[in-house]
Amino acid sequence: MIDADIHTLTGAYALDAVIATERLDVELHLAECPTCALEADEFAGTAARLGTMLAVVPPAALRGQVLSEIRRTRQLSGRVVRFVVSMKQLRVRWVRQVTGRR
């Protein structure tokens, strides 16, 4: 059940003002619409500017905690292509279409 105005959702998506099901709809759309995908990437950069100007000095202890945590954390391997749609996501979408629930 894709919003007829899905193109206008790039802004809300970049601001994380979408609910989970909308986020999925947008990501499915971005995977097939290069124009919106480019806009979404640009908006991500713009939204980030709203965040970067709030920089603070982190507590000194945080650095050590994070660095020791990553030493215990395995990295995901390989690059992924843009917006890989998992089987789970497709199933969620299918169930929503069948049941008519959002």
Binding site: D5, G11, A17, G51, L54, A55, L67, E69, L76, R82
Partner: protein, 198 residues
């Protein structure tokens, strides 16, 4: 796992000091812990500042910031410099995590009570220890000032407070479709205003 075993020598000899955040992230993607430490120094303050702004709890913000940084370590291989800067990629991850936390922990009623619209007029004064140059803040502030009130309010309520477009529509008593288009229009104007100088 085998990738990580070879990296300490590479990183210590590589001299991470002069590398850009994008180059550091590329090294982090192959398990370079030295590059990650350098990336931490570049990003941690910005991530913590933004997350604190959204969550308003220092203890929680540090916890979420730690999760974000570990996620950056895990997913470094997914970063693509063609799609944007490393900082933008990192802050996107951070914002989503902060928002998820805010939504899972607070009922919408609670957040509605806190939605003090007056508060929006001074969204930047709360952070005491700002390290970012005033120039950067002023530039963003000016760009925000140039938006219409509805564009600015929609964007700030979403980005800093974690409201969905539907919640914002209810609060401002306007159709949700209008909120969505105002967000997009406002971001287009912000994007254009901010890219002129960089």
């Amino acid at each position: 796992m085998s990738i990580r075993a070879v990296t300490p020598e590479v990183s210590s000899g590589g001299g991470v000091a002069d590398l850009s955040a994008e180059q550091l992230l590329e090294r982090v993607a192959v398990g370079d812990e030295g590059a990650f430490a350098a990336l931490y120094d570049l990003f941690a303050g910005r991530i913590l500042g933004m997350v604190t702004r959204v969550l308003r709890s220092h203890a929680q913000s540090e916890e979420v910031t730690q999760e974000v940084l570990v996620e950056i370590w895990r997913k470094a291989g997914q970063f693509s410099s063609q799609r944007g800067t490393a900082l933008s990629w990192a802050l996107t991850i951070a914002h989503r995590r902060a928002i998820d936390r805010v939504r899972s922990e607070q009922s919408s009623i609670d957040r509605e009570e806190r939605a003090d619209r007056l508060d929006l007029q001074r969204p930047f004064d709360e952070v005491a220890e700002i390290t970012m140059e005033a120039f950067e803040r002023d530039e963003v502030r000016r760009a925000l000032d140039a938006l219409t009130e509805l564009q600015r309010e929609s964007i700030l309520l979403a980005y800093y407070k974690g409201y969905t477009s539907r919640e914002i529509a209810e609060m401002l008593k306007i159709p949700v479709g209008t909120v969505k288009t105002r967000m997009r229009d406002g971001l287009i104007r912000l994007r254009d205003a901010l890219s002129e100088r960089t």
